[in-house]
């Protein structure tokens, strides 16, 4: 079943913070985060495997709460380059993932 992402879209000014949530009704074994800029290929950001684990990519970090079956992606001190659509994916196998519908992030000057 497809993970549910929220919000669907967010508009930020440079330097502001945002949180993107990803939740599932099924048990999550791993959560994968990707970012896709318009007209480009999705790019891997990070994978989270353990409950409560946090990881980071530049000033983008994420947490994974197994018990709550949810993950959150934190965009800190956003930059213009953070604009794009963020997808979370989950699944038992590395590549056979169920992705959420995506969260569109627009960072303005």
């Amino acid at each position: 079943q497809q993970p549910v992402q929220s919000p669907q879209a967010v508009i930020l000014r440079e330097g502001e913070d945002a949180v993107i949530n990803c939740s599932s009704s099924k048990a999550l074994y791993s959560v994968h985060w990707y970012r896709q800029k318009h007209g480009e290929a999705p790019v891997f950001l990070m994978i989270l495997l353990k409950g409560g684990e946090q990881k980071g990519h530049e000033k983008i970090s994420a947490s994974f709460n197994e018990k709550k079956q949810q993950s959150s992606l934190y965009l800190t001190a956003s930059q213009l380059s953070y604009s794009g659509t963020y997808f979370c994916g989950s699944g038992a196998g590395w590549g056979k993932l169920q992705f959420g519908a995506g969260t569109q992030v627009v960072v303005t000057p």
Binding site: Q2, A41, P42, F44, I47, G89, K96, G102
Partner: protein, 116 residues
Amino acid sequence: GAGVSQSPSNKVTEKGKDVELRCDPISGHTALYWYRQSLGQGLEFLIYFQGNSAPDKSGLPSDRFSAERTGGSVSTLTIQRTQQEDSAVYLCASSSWTSANTGELFFGEGSRLTVL
């Protein structure tokens, strides 16, 4: 090339025609995946090839869809008797044993299919 290459980048076809979409994965990557991205939707898993193992076809939406991977490298996704609901961007991704351990899939830019 350094990345996953897909062709054509755009394809417009008439309802009922067959189409073939090609994916050239990163050299040495043993795993290859096809995903479909409909407008405003997430990525929908279609099929997965790993080495010489039988492909995992569990995501193919109907028997009009098929895919093959020749020589463990290039893959072709074929859609027969296309329907308007097949309109989408078809994304191919590949991974190596190493990147599989980190969870990283390398995606191509996709083939945009429009069925009139």
